[in-house]
Protein backbone atom coordinates (compact mmCIF):
# COMPACT_ATOMS: atom_id res chain seq x y z
CA UNK A 1 0.00 0.00 0.00
CA UNK A 2 1.07 3.55 -0.61
CA UNK A 3 3.29 2.81 -3.61
CA UNK A 4 2.97 4.65 -6.90
CA UNK A 5 2.43 3.18 -10.33
CA UNK A 6 1.51 4.52 -13.76
CA UNK A 7 -0.48 1.40 -14.52
CA UNK A 8 -4.24 1.73 -14.19
CA UNK A 9 -5.33 -0.91 -11.69
CA UNK A 10 -8.97 -0.83 -12.78
CA UNK A 11 -10.08 -0.21 -16.35
CA UNK A 12 -13.60 -0.65 -17.73
CA UNK A 13 -14.62 -2.59 -14.61
CA UNK A 14 -11.76 -5.05 -15.05
CA UNK A 15 -8.84 -5.36 -12.68
CA UNK A 16 -5.24 -5.49 -13.88
CA UNK A 17 -5.26 -9.30 -13.97
CA UNK A 18 -8.60 -9.48 -15.79
CA UNK A 19 -10.79 -10.20 -12.79
CA UNK A 20 -14.08 -8.41 -12.20
CA UNK A 21 -14.44 -6.26 -9.09
CA UNK A 22 -16.08 -9.01 -7.03
CA UNK A 23 -14.17 -11.97 -8.48
CA UNK A 24 -11.89 -14.00 -6.23
CA UNK A 25 -8.76 -15.68 -7.45
CA UNK A 26 -9.14 -19.43 -8.11
CA UNK A 27 -8.97 -21.31 -4.82
CA UNK A 28 -7.85 -24.92 -4.47
CA UNK A 29 -7.63 -26.78 -1.18
CA UNK A 30 -6.30 -30.24 -0.45
CA UNK A 31 -6.60 -31.82 3.00
CA UNK A 32 -4.29 -34.41 4.50
CA UNK A 33 -1.17 -33.69 2.47
CA UNK A 34 1.29 -34.47 5.29
CA UNK A 35 1.19 -38.02 6.59
CA UNK A 36 3.25 -37.41 9.72
CA UNK A 37 1.07 -34.57 11.05
CA UNK A 38 -2.24 -35.19 12.82
CA UNK A 39 -3.87 -32.89 10.31
CA UNK A 40 -2.72 -30.84 7.34
CA UNK A 41 -3.89 -28.84 4.35
CA UNK A 42 -2.47 -27.19 1.28
CA UNK A 43 -4.15 -24.04 0.02
CA UNK A 44 -3.48 -22.59 -3.41
CA UNK A 45 -5.18 -19.26 -3.83
CA UNK A 46 -4.16 -17.59 -7.06
CA UNK A 47 -0.41 -17.43 -6.78
CA UNK A 48 -0.48 -17.93 -2.99
CA UNK A 49 0.54 -21.31 -1.70
CA UNK A 50 0.28 -22.12 2.01
CA UNK A 51 0.94 -25.40 3.77
CA UNK A 52 -0.63 -25.84 7.22
CA UNK A 53 0.01 -28.60 9.72
CA UNK A 54 -1.59 -29.44 13.07
CA UNK A 55 -0.04 -31.53 15.82
CA UNK A 56 -1.79 -32.33 19.06
CA UNK A 57 -3.34 -32.08 21.52
CA UNK A 58 -0.08 -33.09 23.14
CA UNK A 59 2.06 -32.44 26.18
CA UNK A 60 2.89 -28.77 26.71
CA UNK A 61 6.40 -27.61 26.05
CA UNK A 62 7.77 -25.47 27.68
CA UNK A 63 5.96 -26.72 30.75
CA UNK A 64 5.45 -23.34 32.41
CA UNK A 65 2.99 -22.44 29.66
CA UNK A 66 0.69 -25.27 30.74
CA UNK A 67 -2.82 -24.29 31.75
CA UNK A 68 -4.58 -26.77 34.08
CA UNK A 69 -8.02 -25.46 33.07
CA UNK A 70 -7.72 -25.61 29.29
CA UNK A 71 -5.49 -26.40 26.36
CA UNK A 72 -3.35 -23.78 24.66
CA UNK A 73 -2.78 -23.06 21.00
CA UNK A 74 0.56 -22.25 19.48
CA UNK A 75 0.28 -20.72 16.05
CA UNK A 76 3.28 -20.20 13.84
CA UNK A 77 2.99 -18.25 10.62
CA UNK A 78 6.13 -18.17 8.62
CA UNK A 79 7.18 -17.22 5.12
CA UNK A 80 9.63 -19.44 3.33
CA UNK A 81 12.84 -17.79 2.11
CA UNK A 82 11.81 -18.60 -1.46
CA UNK A 83 8.25 -17.29 -1.13
CA UNK A 84 8.86 -13.99 -2.93
CA UNK A 85 9.36 -12.46 0.46
CA UNK A 86 11.42 -9.42 -0.61
CA UNK A 87 8.55 -7.02 0.10
CA UNK A 88 8.35 -8.11 3.74
CA UNK A 89 12.05 -8.00 4.68
CA UNK A 90 13.67 -11.32 5.47
CA UNK A 91 12.27 -14.76 6.21
CA UNK A 92 11.97 -15.99 9.79
CA UNK A 93 10.33 -14.79 12.99
CA UNK A 94 10.15 -11.08 12.28
CA UNK A 95 7.73 -8.49 13.61
CA UNK A 96 5.19 -9.10 10.88
CA UNK A 97 5.21 -12.90 11.28
CA UNK A 98 4.78 -12.56 15.04
CA UNK A 99 1.80 -10.28 14.61
CA UNK A 100 0.10 -12.60 12.14
CA UNK A 101 0.79 -15.60 14.38
CA UNK A 102 -0.79 -13.79 17.32
CA UNK A 103 -3.97 -12.64 15.57
CA UNK A 104 -4.40 -16.05 13.94
CA UNK A 105 -4.01 -17.76 17.32
CA UNK A 106 -6.86 -15.62 18.67
CA UNK A 107 -9.07 -16.71 15.75
CA UNK A 108 -8.67 -20.35 16.75
CA UNK A 109 -8.90 -19.75 20.50
CA UNK A 110 -12.47 -18.67 19.74
CA UNK A 111 -13.51 -21.79 17.83
CA UNK A 112 -11.60 -24.73 19.32
CA UNK A 113 -13.06 -26.46 22.40
CA UNK A 114 -9.89 -25.94 24.42
CA UNK A 115 -11.55 -26.73 27.75
CA UNK A 116 -11.88 -30.34 26.61
CA UNK A 117 -8.10 -30.70 26.61
CA UNK A 118 -6.64 -29.26 29.83
CA UNK A 119 -2.86 -29.34 30.22
CA UNK A 120 -2.19 -29.79 26.53
CA UNK A 121 -1.17 -27.72 23.55
CA UNK A 122 -2.13 -27.74 19.91
CA UNK A 123 0.58 -26.73 17.46
CA UNK A 124 -0.61 -25.08 14.28
CA UNK A 125 2.06 -24.19 11.81
CA UNK A 126 1.55 -22.38 8.52
CA UNK A 127 4.33 -22.05 6.02
CA UNK A 128 3.85 -19.67 3.11
CA UNK A 129 5.56 -21.33 0.17
CA UNK A 130 4.64 -18.67 -2.34
CA UNK A 131 3.10 -15.30 -1.61
CA UNK A 132 1.02 -12.94 -3.67
CA UNK A 133 -1.02 -10.88 -1.20
CA UNK A 134 -3.63 -12.15 1.23
CA UNK A 135 -1.44 -14.84 2.78
CA UNK A 136 -2.73 -14.39 6.31
CA UNK A 137 -6.28 -15.23 5.25
CA UNK A 138 -4.96 -18.12 3.17
CA UNK A 139 -2.98 -19.37 6.17
CA UNK A 140 -6.03 -19.19 8.45
CA UNK A 141 -8.32 -21.07 6.09
CA UNK A 142 -5.61 -23.69 5.59
CA UNK A 143 -5.17 -24.02 9.36
CA UNK A 144 -8.92 -24.42 9.81
CA UNK A 145 -9.05 -27.32 7.35
CA UNK A 146 -5.97 -28.88 8.99
CA UNK A 147 -7.58 -28.61 12.45
CA UNK A 148 -10.69 -30.42 11.28
CA UNK A 149 -8.51 -32.98 9.49
CA UNK A 150 -6.75 -33.56 12.82
CA UNK A 151 -10.09 -34.34 14.48
CA UNK A 152 -9.82 -31.50 16.97
CA UNK A 153 -13.27 -30.42 18.23
CA UNK A 154 -14.18 -26.99 16.83
CA UNK A 155 -17.37 -24.97 16.87
CA UNK A 156 -17.08 -24.25 13.17
CA UNK A 157 -14.81 -24.01 10.20
CA UNK A 158 -13.46 -20.50 9.76
CA UNK A 159 -13.41 -18.84 6.37
CA UNK A 160 -12.38 -15.45 5.14
CA UNK A 161 -11.25 -13.20 2.38
CA UNK A 162 -9.71 -9.77 2.11
CA UNK A 163 -11.46 -6.70 0.76
CA UNK A 164 -9.61 -3.63 -0.41
CA UNK A 165 -9.94 -0.30 -2.17
CA UNK A 166 -8.12 0.27 -5.40
CA UNK A 167 -8.43 3.45 -7.48
CA UNK A 168 -11.30 4.50 -5.23
CA UNK A 169 -13.20 1.29 -5.94
CA UNK A 170 -13.86 -1.57 -3.51
CA UNK A 171 -12.53 -4.94 -4.69
CA UNK A 172 -12.74 -8.46 -3.30
CA UNK A 173 -9.67 -10.61 -2.70
CA UNK A 174 -6.80 -8.17 -3.01
CA UNK A 175 -3.59 -9.41 -4.61
CA UNK A 176 -0.07 -8.13 -4.18
CA UNK A 177 -0.18 -5.40 -6.83
CA UNK A 178 -3.48 -4.07 -5.58
CA UNK A 179 -2.19 -4.15 -2.02
CA UNK A 180 1.01 -2.33 -2.92
CA UNK A 181 -0.55 0.33 -5.12
CA UNK A 182 -4.10 0.48 -3.77
CA UNK A 183 -5.52 2.49 -0.90
CA UNK A 184 -6.71 -0.11 1.55
CA UNK A 185 -6.48 -3.81 2.48
CA UNK A 186 -8.82 -5.41 5.00
CA UNK A 187 -8.52 -9.11 5.83
CA UNK A 188 -11.75 -10.44 7.35
CA UNK A 189 -12.20 -13.91 8.85
CA UNK A 190 -15.59 -15.12 10.02
CA UNK A 191 -17.37 -18.15 11.35
CA UNK A 192 -19.92 -18.64 8.57
CA UNK A 193 -22.40 -20.56 10.72
CA UNK A 194 -22.95 -17.77 13.24
CA UNK A 195 -21.57 -14.83 11.29
CA UNK A 196 -19.17 -13.97 14.12
CA UNK A 197 -16.19 -11.90 13.04
CA UNK A 198 -12.97 -13.55 14.22
CA UNK A 199 -10.38 -11.41 12.48
CA UNK A 200 -10.66 -7.89 11.19
CA UNK A 201 -7.62 -5.82 10.45
CA UNK A 202 -7.90 -2.55 8.58
CA UNK A 203 -5.02 -1.06 6.71
CA UNK A 204 -5.69 2.28 5.01
CA UNK A 205 -8.73 4.50 4.94
CA UNK A 206 -12.36 3.68 4.16
CA UNK A 207 -15.63 5.49 4.67
CA UNK A 208 -18.26 3.99 6.94
CA UNK A 209 -20.43 3.08 3.94
CA UNK A 210 -17.51 1.42 2.18
CA UNK A 211 -16.75 -0.61 5.27
CA UNK A 212 -20.33 -1.84 5.45
CA UNK A 213 -20.16 -2.92 1.80
CA UNK A 214 -16.77 -4.50 2.47
CA UNK A 215 -18.27 -6.67 5.18
CA UNK A 216 -21.18 -7.65 2.96
CA UNK A 217 -18.74 -8.77 0.26
CA UNK A 218 -16.52 -10.54 2.75
CA UNK A 219 -19.49 -12.58 3.99
CA UNK A 220 -20.35 -13.57 0.42
CA UNK A 221 -16.72 -14.42 -0.33
CA UNK A 222 -16.28 -16.41 2.88
CA UNK A 223 -19.34 -18.51 2.05
CA UNK A 224 -17.70 -19.47 -1.25
CA UNK A 225 -14.42 -20.24 0.52
CA UNK A 226 -16.24 -22.42 3.00
CA UNK A 227 -17.79 -24.49 0.23
CA UNK A 228 -14.32 -25.26 -1.10
CA UNK A 229 -13.02 -26.06 2.39
CA UNK A 230 -15.90 -28.46 2.98
CA UNK A 231 -15.46 -30.11 -0.41
CA UNK A 232 -11.76 -30.68 0.34
CA UNK A 233 -12.53 -32.41 3.65
CA UNK A 234 -15.36 -34.49 2.22
CA UNK A 235 -13.15 -35.59 -0.65
CA UNK A 236 -10.40 -36.64 1.75
CA UNK A 237 -12.72 -38.81 3.83
CA UNK A 238 -15.06 -40.17 1.18
CA UNK A 239 -12.45 -42.10 -0.78
CA UNK A 240 -9.95 -44.54 0.66
CA UNK A 241 -6.38 -43.38 0.15
CA UNK A 242 -4.24 -45.83 -1.82
CA UNK A 243 -1.35 -45.68 0.63
CA UNK A 244 -0.27 -43.81 3.72
Amino acid sequence: MGGKTDKKLIENGKRWDGRGIKDMRPLKIEAGVLKQANGSALVEWGRNKVLASVYGPREVFPRHMMDPTKGIIKFRYSMAPFSNIDEHSRSGPNRRAQEISKVSRHVFENVVFLEQFPKTMINISCEVLQSDGGTRVAAIIAASVALVDAGIPCKDLVSGVSVGRVNGQLVLDVDKYEDNFGESDIPIVISTRTGEVLLFQADGMLTKEELETAFEWAYEGAAKVREIQEAALRKRYSEAPARD
Binding site: P153, C154, S238, A240
Partner: protein, 203 residues
Protein backbone atom coordinates in the same frame (compact mmCIF):
# COMPACT_ATOMS: atom_id res chain seq x y z
CA UNK B 1 -18.55 -44.10 1.81
CA UNK B 2 -21.16 -41.65 0.63
CA UNK B 3 -20.05 -38.02 0.77
CA UNK B 4 -23.38 -36.95 2.21
CA UNK B 5 -22.84 -39.07 5.30
CA UNK B 6 -19.88 -36.99 6.38
CA UNK B 7 -20.64 -34.15 8.77
CA UNK B 8 -18.23 -31.30 9.45
CA UNK B 9 -17.84 -29.00 12.46
CA UNK B 10 -20.63 -26.46 12.64
CA UNK B 11 -23.10 -28.63 10.75
CA UNK B 12 -26.42 -29.18 12.49
CA UNK B 13 -26.96 -32.88 13.16
CA UNK B 14 -30.07 -32.83 15.29
CA UNK B 15 -32.91 -30.35 15.71
CA UNK B 16 -32.90 -30.34 19.50
CA UNK B 17 -30.48 -30.67 22.40
CA UNK B 18 -28.77 -34.05 22.50
CA UNK B 19 -25.56 -35.26 24.03
CA UNK B 20 -23.64 -37.22 21.46
CA UNK B 21 -19.98 -37.99 20.97
CA UNK B 22 -18.12 -35.23 19.20
CA UNK B 23 -21.11 -32.89 19.22
CA UNK B 24 -22.11 -29.74 21.05
CA UNK B 25 -25.36 -28.00 21.88
CA UNK B 26 -26.00 -24.34 21.18
CA UNK B 27 -29.34 -22.53 21.43
CA UNK B 28 -31.14 -25.85 21.85
CA UNK B 29 -29.71 -27.36 18.66
CA UNK B 30 -27.04 -30.00 18.26
CA UNK B 31 -24.05 -29.39 15.99
CA UNK B 32 -21.12 -31.57 15.02
CA UNK B 33 -17.82 -30.59 16.61
CA UNK B 34 -15.53 -33.01 14.83
CA UNK B 35 -15.43 -34.55 11.39
CA UNK B 36 -17.76 -37.53 11.76
CA UNK B 37 -19.85 -40.07 9.96
CA UNK B 38 -23.60 -39.75 10.35
CA UNK B 39 -25.44 -43.05 10.35
CA UNK B 40 -29.15 -42.88 11.10
CA UNK B 41 -29.13 -41.70 14.71
CA UNK B 42 -25.47 -42.20 15.45
CA UNK B 43 -22.49 -39.90 15.03
CA UNK B 44 -19.14 -41.63 14.64
CA UNK B 45 -16.02 -39.41 14.81
CA UNK B 46 -13.55 -40.26 12.03
CA UNK B 47 -10.46 -38.72 13.58
CA UNK B 48 -9.19 -37.59 16.96
CA UNK B 49 -6.78 -38.47 19.72
CA UNK B 50 -7.48 -41.13 22.32
CA UNK B 51 -8.89 -40.03 25.67
CA UNK B 52 -8.93 -42.77 28.32
CA UNK B 53 -12.28 -44.02 29.64
CA UNK B 54 -12.82 -46.30 32.66
CA UNK B 55 -12.93 -49.95 31.60
CA UNK B 56 -10.80 -49.53 28.46
CA UNK B 57 -8.08 -52.08 27.93
CA UNK B 58 -5.07 -50.37 26.36
CA UNK B 59 -1.54 -51.16 25.26
CA UNK B 60 0.87 -48.86 27.08
CA UNK B 61 4.61 -48.29 27.34
CA UNK B 62 6.27 -47.71 30.73
CA UNK B 63 7.86 -44.28 30.39
CA UNK B 64 9.03 -43.55 33.94
CA UNK B 65 9.55 -45.22 37.31
CA UNK B 66 8.58 -43.33 40.45
CA UNK B 67 8.80 -44.28 44.14
CA UNK B 68 5.03 -44.89 44.21
CA UNK B 69 4.57 -46.51 40.84
CA UNK B 70 5.00 -46.10 37.11
CA UNK B 71 4.08 -43.58 34.48
CA UNK B 72 2.63 -45.36 31.47
CA UNK B 73 2.37 -43.71 28.08
CA UNK B 74 -0.95 -44.72 26.50
CA UNK B 75 -0.94 -42.98 23.09
CA UNK B 76 -2.97 -40.09 24.48
CA UNK B 77 -2.12 -36.48 25.37
CA UNK B 78 -2.31 -37.61 28.99
CA UNK B 79 -0.12 -40.24 30.65
CA UNK B 80 -1.53 -43.00 32.89
CA UNK B 81 -0.42 -43.91 36.40
CA UNK B 82 0.18 -47.43 37.64
CA UNK B 83 0.55 -47.56 41.41
CA UNK B 84 2.86 -50.12 43.09
CA UNK B 85 -0.13 -50.95 45.29
CA UNK B 86 -1.91 -52.38 42.25
CA UNK B 87 0.87 -54.69 41.13
CA UNK B 88 3.43 -57.03 42.61
CA UNK B 89 5.48 -57.16 39.47
CA UNK B 90 8.34 -54.82 38.71
CA UNK B 91 8.71 -53.08 35.39
CA UNK B 92 11.41 -51.20 33.53
CA UNK B 93 10.99 -48.20 31.29
CA UNK B 94 10.30 -49.20 27.72
CA UNK B 95 8.36 -52.32 28.60
CA UNK B 96 5.01 -52.85 26.89
CA UNK B 97 1.94 -53.59 29.01
CA UNK B 98 -1.61 -54.65 28.36
CA UNK B 99 -3.41 -52.69 31.04
CA UNK B 100 -6.91 -51.67 32.12
CA UNK B 101 -8.10 -48.14 32.86
CA UNK B 102 -9.75 -48.17 36.30
CA UNK B 103 -10.48 -44.51 36.81
CA UNK B 104 -10.05 -41.20 35.00
CA UNK B 105 -9.89 -37.86 36.78
CA UNK B 106 -11.24 -34.50 35.58
CA UNK B 107 -8.05 -33.70 33.66
CA UNK B 108 -8.19 -37.05 31.82
CA UNK B 109 -5.36 -38.63 33.81
CA UNK B 110 -5.94 -42.36 34.12
CA UNK B 111 -5.39 -44.74 37.02
CA UNK B 112 -4.27 -48.03 35.51
CA UNK B 113 -4.62 -51.51 37.01
CA UNK B 114 -4.07 -55.18 36.11
CA UNK B 115 -0.90 -54.87 34.05
CA UNK B 116 0.24 -57.75 31.91
CA UNK B 117 3.69 -57.70 30.37
CA UNK B 118 3.80 -58.19 26.60
CA UNK B 119 7.09 -59.57 25.40
CA UNK B 120 8.62 -60.78 22.17
CA UNK B 121 6.08 -59.27 19.81
CA UNK B 122 5.57 -56.10 17.83
CA UNK B 123 3.51 -52.99 18.53
CA UNK B 124 1.63 -51.21 15.78
CA UNK B 125 -0.04 -47.84 16.11
CA UNK B 126 -3.26 -46.89 14.34
CA UNK B 127 -5.88 -44.21 14.82
CA UNK B 128 -7.88 -44.99 17.99
CA UNK B 129 -11.22 -44.25 16.29
CA UNK B 130 -10.49 -47.11 13.88
CA UNK B 131 -10.13 -49.75 16.61
CA UNK B 132 -13.77 -50.93 16.38
CA UNK B 133 -13.18 -51.82 12.70
CA UNK B 134 -10.10 -53.91 13.53
CA UNK B 135 -12.13 -55.81 16.11
CA UNK B 136 -15.27 -56.09 14.00
CA UNK B 137 -18.77 -57.14 15.05
CA UNK B 138 -18.42 -59.40 18.08
CA UNK B 139 -14.71 -59.69 17.34
CA UNK B 140 -15.26 -61.14 13.86
CA UNK B 141 -12.49 -59.20 12.10
CA UNK B 142 -9.99 -59.94 14.86
CA UNK B 143 -10.89 -63.61 14.75
CA UNK B 144 -10.41 -63.62 10.98
CA UNK B 145 -6.98 -62.01 11.33
CA UNK B 146 -5.87 -64.42 14.03
CA UNK B 147 -7.07 -67.49 12.17
CA UNK B 148 -5.55 -66.52 8.83
CA UNK B 149 -2.17 -65.34 10.11
CA UNK B 150 -1.72 -67.45 13.22
CA UNK B 151 -0.78 -64.32 15.18
CA UNK B 152 -1.68 -63.59 18.73
CA UNK B 153 -3.21 -60.10 18.55
CA UNK B 154 -4.19 -57.70 21.34
CA UNK B 155 -5.98 -54.55 20.25
CA UNK B 156 -5.85 -51.72 22.77
CA UNK B 157 -8.66 -49.15 22.78
CA UNK B 158 -5.95 -46.50 22.43
CA UNK B 159 -5.07 -47.63 18.92
CA UNK B 160 -2.02 -49.69 19.77
CA UNK B 161 -2.01 -53.23 18.48
CA UNK B 162 0.29 -55.92 19.83
CA UNK B 163 1.16 -58.81 17.52
CA UNK B 164 3.25 -61.87 18.27
CA UNK B 165 3.98 -65.17 16.55
CA UNK B 166 2.60 -66.38 13.23
CA UNK B 167 2.74 -64.35 10.03
CA UNK B 168 3.25 -60.93 11.68
CA UNK B 169 4.15 -59.01 8.48
CA UNK B 170 0.92 -60.09 6.79
CA UNK B 171 -1.15 -59.26 9.88
CA UNK B 172 0.53 -55.83 10.07
CA UNK B 173 -0.28 -55.06 6.44
CA UNK B 174 -3.86 -56.23 6.91
CA UNK B 175 -4.38 -54.04 9.99
CA UNK B 176 -2.91 -51.01 8.21
CA UNK B 177 -5.27 -51.72 5.33
CA UNK B 178 -8.22 -51.86 7.72
CA UNK B 179 -7.15 -48.55 9.25
CA UNK B 180 -6.83 -46.94 5.83
CA UNK B 181 -10.18 -48.19 4.60
CA UNK B 182 -12.04 -48.11 7.92
CA UNK B 183 -14.77 -45.82 6.60
CA UNK B 184 -15.63 -47.93 3.55
CA UNK B 185 -18.16 -50.73 3.17
CA UNK B 186 -17.50 -54.37 2.30
CA UNK B 187 -14.25 -54.29 4.26
CA UNK B 188 -14.39 -57.81 5.67
CA UNK B 189 -14.56 -59.36 2.18
CA UNK B 190 -11.63 -57.30 0.96
CA UNK B 191 -9.54 -58.21 4.01
CA UNK B 192 -10.44 -61.87 3.52
CA UNK B 193 -9.23 -61.68 -0.11
CA UNK B 194 -6.13 -59.75 0.96
CA UNK B 195 -5.18 -62.34 3.55
CA UNK B 196 -5.79 -65.24 1.16
CA UNK B 197 -3.64 -63.57 -1.50
CA UNK B 198 -0.90 -62.76 1.02
CA UNK B 199 -0.82 -66.33 2.28
CA UNK B 200 -0.65 -67.65 -1.28
CA UNK B 201 2.38 -65.48 -2.02
CA UNK B 202 4.21 -66.61 1.12
CA UNK B 203 3.43 -70.30 0.43
Amino acid sequence: MNERNIVLPGEQVYDGPRHMEGCYVENGKTYAGVLSLKMEDRIIPLKGRYLPKPGDVVVGVVSDERFNGYVVEINSPYPGQLSTRDTREEFKTGEVLLIRVAMVDEVHEAVLVEPRKLQGGEVLEIESVKVPRVIGKNGSMLQLLQEETGCEIFVGKNGRVYLSGGNTPLATLAILKIAREAHTTGLTERIQAFLAEGKGRAG
